[in-house]
Symmetry: C4
Subunit: 224 residues, 4 copies
């Protein structure tokens, strides 16, 4: 397990850098977490630390109750919510939270993002849903994420008046969802700014989603 | 021919980096392809690989039927469509596909981009046309590209609900068209956001296009 | 005191670089200042100098009357206003001024930014208020900043037809406020561009502000 | 004179890089020129060359008739217009042309940019005016620039359906005007997107312009 933890610490630093690179975060806002395989633990960004100051050692190891294993470290304000999601969605092993600009615009109006681009059908399999308003610091946001995404194809949810939360089979997959969520949030925003969008028929959405989830990408190397 | 292929592999890596530099792509989306001179082959981006991980060797050599020569490599999901275009437009030797933001906005509304800037008249010779909706993974997109761009001055097409495809006499020319397509898609979007645009008279468009295609740039070095 | 001044000169260079990194300034516009602890002095950007040419020695040491200690240096045009704020708000030890794009958009319309995002409630505790129109070069802007921010939770003010001024307990805190002010100015702009925003109830704003000001971040290292 | 030319060649490479840095140009579009002091000559960007390939030697030396001194070099398509401006405005020693996004948006609608920000009053002394539509390749654009900017405070003009031209007492000053023109074009665009702007009284505009032109910046070093 220690080997897993050490590897994940380095991966989390790299993945936080992707949030910066894609302009999804400013200053200390936003966070990525990763479940430790085979243990009731996860790693998450420390609270209030600048992205350029993140190191593998600064990532905070937490129990699934949302408590830091080393009580001298303060984990992200969203730790309780990440813990809630890990407890209630066993298939989730990575989560991301950002205040990315266009997702926040949909969030401030309290609107889901309609599926009018093939890239949305591919990655999210339909609209990106709206989750409830919830206060920061406890588990309420996590509860809203679980309620909204359970049984939904989308790995991203727009939390009302707040920002986006994404889940994935690992942290990299959740970061990808965060990057693509902002990308389509921006494109559909611009589309809607000048008029109405053409809907994509449901069977085409289903077909695009199926292909992207099952055919897209390189085949895994065969095991010997 | 091997020399051509090796040179093109390196060029394709550089050209994919231009898509990143100009912000036309995120994560693994988008692709560039290049026809191999003197052979029924082309090179294209591998499927689902991050831009920073692209290497000359990772570019997938394909037949004009859209099959990878080395079946252990998975080429881009759009390979069948690139192949269709190469088969039906012999003058085309490079293609680019992106989900760039403002082109996608026009695509989601199903609108062509009107020619209201001299830069559009220069590069595209008129409006950038809208192509049909088509599913990803087969040749349907390629068929839509060929139907839309055959006999049209524009080297770019906005595919409905999807993104942009561009063609060129080589891959560099197709990348230039992709960069300029997004640039004018954005400028005309902003223009239209605050009111109506002033049309450019057709004879001025014709004159601008003729000069840019025939006079612009450095003269080729004389052959000895 | 000399040690304080030398340290602050280097910090100010780094903090000016944050304005560039976050795209809040162009060419020579904008400035950061820092009060010298234990002295009636502050340091501020020189007037009309490019960000890439700033050095620790180029930062101009000024009295609280807004006069350069070394009269061969010309401090920022906003020096008189920074001085006015330092004289009238003793708790302020850092200030920032920018013409960042979205803050300027609210400024040109003469509108405060409504608090419709949790990130605004966290950092600003409510709306970002509008300050009066004032001419540049004297103390009028500083007077407007003090009148608007005295007794207000917000550390940022949008000055009509002009840009943003932010204050903080140190220069870093004022820079953070400038970065977050533009971030929320942009997100709320985009939200409003497509419709009405959902208000956040006042008790939720109060609760979010209280937690962020008192719990967020790492605990200070214990003094021995 | 040769020393002047050599120094200007290097400066022009640096100034073209500023256009890239500020996002004012894509691919090979846009150009900067500089008059050679004490000679009827100027230097300008070569036609159709990428910004990253520009070198001091590639800058094309031209006569005030717009002809390349070395006929093997092809200067920018706008050379005739730059030459026209240099012949008719002897106080101008630098010019810039770009298709920057927001300036193009005002250009496509055929609207001047109203002076609703203090930064505009500072740099441009009022609105940024609209110039006529003109074809590329001859002197017509230059004629439109001279007609529009003669007797006008603004160093920038928005040419209808085209882009922006700026003039200055040297090339650096013209680049500054191009950077600030796009900056205010964007801010005022965003302001107008959500409503009406508050006008700035004419006497305040006059006062701001006077101070910025005469007091702003560092005093020149005294000559011995």
């Amino acid at each position: 397990m220690l080997g897993h933890v050490d590897r994940l610490r380095g991966e989390l630093v790299d993945l936080h850098a992707q949030l910066v690179r894609y302009g999804l975060v400013v200053w200390t806002g936003g966070n990525v977490s990763a479940r430790v395989p085979g243990a009731d633990l996860f790693l998450i960004k420390p609270s209030g630390v600048l992205y350029e100051d993140l190191t593998p050692a600064s990532m905070v190891l937490c129990t699934l109750d949302g408590e830091a294993v080393d009580p001298s470290q303060s984990p992200s304000s969203d730790t309780g919510s990440h813990a809630y999601v890990y407890r209630h969605m066993p298939e989730v092993a990575g989560q991301v939270h950002t205040h990315s600009t266009y997702a926040c615009a949909w969030a401030a109006r309290g609107e889901e993002i309609p599926c009018v681009l093939t890239a949305m059908a591919d990655e999210f399999g339909g609209p990106i849903p709206l989750g409830p308003f919830a206060l920061i610091g406890g588990e309420d946001i996590g509860r809203g994420v679980v309620e909204t995404l359970t049984g939904h194809r989308s790995k991203a949810v727009i939390m009302q008046n707040h920002g986006t939360f994404t889940i994935g089979k690992d942290a990299r997959s959740a970061v990808k969802a965060a990057v693509m969520c902002e990308d389509v949030a921006r494109s559909v925003h611009m589309a809607r700014a000048l008029g109405e969008c053409v809907p994509i028929p449901q069977d085409a959405i289903d077909s695009l989603y199926d292909r992207y989830q099952n055919v897209y990408g390189q085949r895994p190397a065969p095991t010997a």
